[in-house]
Amino acid sequence: MTLKQIEGSHGVAETIALCRPEVICAYPISPQTHIVEGLGEMVKAGELRAEYLNVESEFAAMSVAIGSSAAGARTYTATASQGLLFMVEAVYNAAGLGLPIVMTVANRAIGAPINIWNDHSDSMSQRDCGWIQLFAETNQEAMDLHIQAFKLAEELSLPVMVCMDGFILTHAYERLDVPTQEQVDAFLPPFEPRQILDPSHPVSIGAMVGPEAFTEVRYLAHAKQLQALDLLPEISADFKKSFGRDSGGLIRPYKTEGAETIVIALGSVLGTIKDVIDEMQEAGCSIGVLGITSFRPFPLDAIRDALKGAKRIVVLEKCFAVGVGGIVATNVRMALEGSGQQVRTVVAGLGGRAITMSSLHAIFLEAMAGKLEALTFLDLNSEVVDHVLELERNVRLSGPVAESVLRNIGTVASNIA
């Protein structure tokens, strides 16, 4: 094993290259950009034999990917945030057409207000689009998940999204194990699709399906995605055999054995949470953490089993559904239906707000004491929001919220005389 001190994005780019993609669609958006830049360099230098298309939008990126994948080429693209939203129509279409495209989502917040920093609002908005969604905890896992993603995608003929935290992972330099070409080739056979666009065997793809068959097609999409619940652990086990480390699978329990309180989270924040758990266990607290790697399909059974015996569940998520609350928490509640276990939602890290160990420590203690409300926003500045809400009770305000806050405190730039 040779460890390289590289940026997470470059680690992913190098890994993608080892997966021998034939078509790569590139459109820049932070914090994903370094990945496609890295791939572009390799193609330009002749180190990677692939078609590299600089497209004019994310919508085009996914559309080009649809065309090349339907024509039988292993296809990759990467995006984030607004870019993912801009390509949504094609994202759904790729899933509906059953095309095994692999896409990295460098998780980032969604505007307005515009914000380039990390949270999970982007990929969570696509939780129902039919793609498999895998969340990486570390840069090493992000790299490993991409190799597994191509295998999974091509096995099931479904697109796979690998989600990695923007900046926190994409821009972090650390020592990473970049596998050899031989290792990846042995693990990932060439793409051999069953049905492609080919003049020697003409097929029509993308016909208009009416009410008489639409339900069946959608049901099959669901059934097919559920097959990943069996396949992901198998692929993860195979991966361990070939590469010698744990990566992927459905869930990742950490010190949950016998724990009264179990925290659930996705992505890189798991590292911070584990450190907090270590400290708290040392201090005698009964608390563990469960990482979810596969958010789609959602491993209901595996999560139910992993949480057995826990009294309190705290779902810490970097996203939320406005008007109702936690997204991951809602899914966890489905897994726990009838169990009577209490589920609390903590929304944290929105738009890149740092999730500190001390804040986590405090909120977990509150949870263990049974004092946590159903929905909590970690480190919310209640002074600001209470002030705005109080003002709005007296004066009807319309327009953008962030700017309205500024106006209330008298710092609107356009008002400067």
């Binding site: 078609e51 497209v55 919508f59 085009a60 649809i66 065309g67 024509a71 080429a73 003049p199 003409p202």
Partner: protein, 333 residues
């Protein structure tokens, strides 16, 4: 367009009986070996100009590519009437993805063929004027700019016919559509500056841009065959009357396409790398009224109190085309 310099007999068109030509000069549609790429049994309306144009164009492309052709289709009439699941009319590999992405999907197919070394396979993308000039415009411009090896064909029937005849950016002035009703002081569609895609395509300096109509089969076939053998981005804009959307008789489709060209409203030309290299001359100039009157979408301009001023403005547009593109034979007025 004078790719066929010999005039066999005068019918007012370039029509010539196949019997008078060598086998090799006969139209693709005239040969029993034609592919029937868009096979019979589809659900297009009677007299559909788009179905006709697509059959002519794709059969010609199939012939020119030795049947090594893949098509990407935008959402729209052509897609809906040709592929009601589980049936299909396409005798070729064909994919429909979305309304606004056919050029990008085609770019993807072309990229896949290139990396796989399938250089013999040619790629065509097709859509109506709505998907071409409006919703898919960004993807089309991107495909042009990258000079991807794709022939894009726009079947222009001047409106969103599949959704029930609404205005597109290719709808001409004064026309009645479901969203530009003949009401108020300025009935019908606005007199805007237009959004003329062939000129926009030319501004991308792509290797080949052409316009054609379903009234001139040979010209259309020739342009498609020529385009399919060029590497890089190509654009062909085909004028296809729509009996349903225009309120015209099904049997008038070809005649209307013919008159649109002859009155000057639809210039027929071709261009290479942004420069016009050939123009189909008007043979018997006609006033725009002759073209407009058989269409109910213009009915509010005629009748007891004809909107003479409006008609004059439309005539002025035709006249401008005639002078801009040099549509008249010298000495003919």
């Amino acid at each position: 367009m004078s790719y066929q310099p010999v005039k066999f007999y005068q019918t007012g068109t370039f029509t010539v009986g196949n019997r008078l030509l060598d086998e090799s000069d006969r139209s693709v549609q005239a040969t029993t070996a034609r592919n029937n790429s868009l096979n019979s049994g589809h659900r297009a309306c009677q007299g559909c100009g788009e179905a006709l144009g697509a059959r002519y164009a794709i059969d010609a492309a199939m012939a020119a590519s030795n049947r090594q052709l893949i098509a990407a289709n935008a959402t729209g009439c052509l897609e809906v009437f040709s592929t009601p699941y589980p049936e299909t009319s396409w005798q070729m590999p064909w994919i429909h993805s979305l309304f606004g992405n056919a050029p990008a999907v085609a770019s993807g197919v072309a990229a896949a063929m290139r990396i796989k070394g399938r250089t013999e396979v040619r790629v065509v993308a097709q859509g109506g004027d709505g998907s071409t000039t409006d919703i898919g415009f960004g993807c089309l411009s991107g495909m042009f700019e990258r000079n991807d090896d794709v022939l894009y064909i726009c079947y222009d029937n001047e409106g969103y016919m599949n959704t029930g005849v609404q205005r597109s950016s290719a709808t001409p002035p004064a026309v009645r559509t479901a969203t530009t009703m003949p009401l108020g002081p300025e009935p019908g569609n606005v007199f805007g500056q237009g959004k003329y895609l062939p000129a926009i395509a030319m501004a991308h300096r792509i290797p080949f841009v052409a316009t054609a109509t379903v009234a001139d089969l040979r010209d259309l076939e020739h342009k498609v065959k020529h385009a399919i053998n060029i590497r890089g981005a190509k654009y062909i804009h085909i004028f296809v009357p729509c009996p349903l959307g225009w309120g015209s008789a099904s049997h008038d489709t070809i005649n209307l396409a013919y008159m649109a060209k002859e009155c000057g409203l639809f210039p027929v030309f071709q261009a290479e790398y942004g420069k016009i290299t050939g123009v189909s001359k008007i043979r018997k100039p006609i006033p725009v009224e002759d073209y407009m009157k058989p269409q109910r979408r213009y009915a509010h301009l005629f009748g007891k109190n004809p909107a003479l001023e409006t008609i004059a403005k439309i005539q002025a547009r035709a006249d401008e085309n005639i002078s801009t593109y040099g549509l008249l034979e010298e000495g003919v007025n």
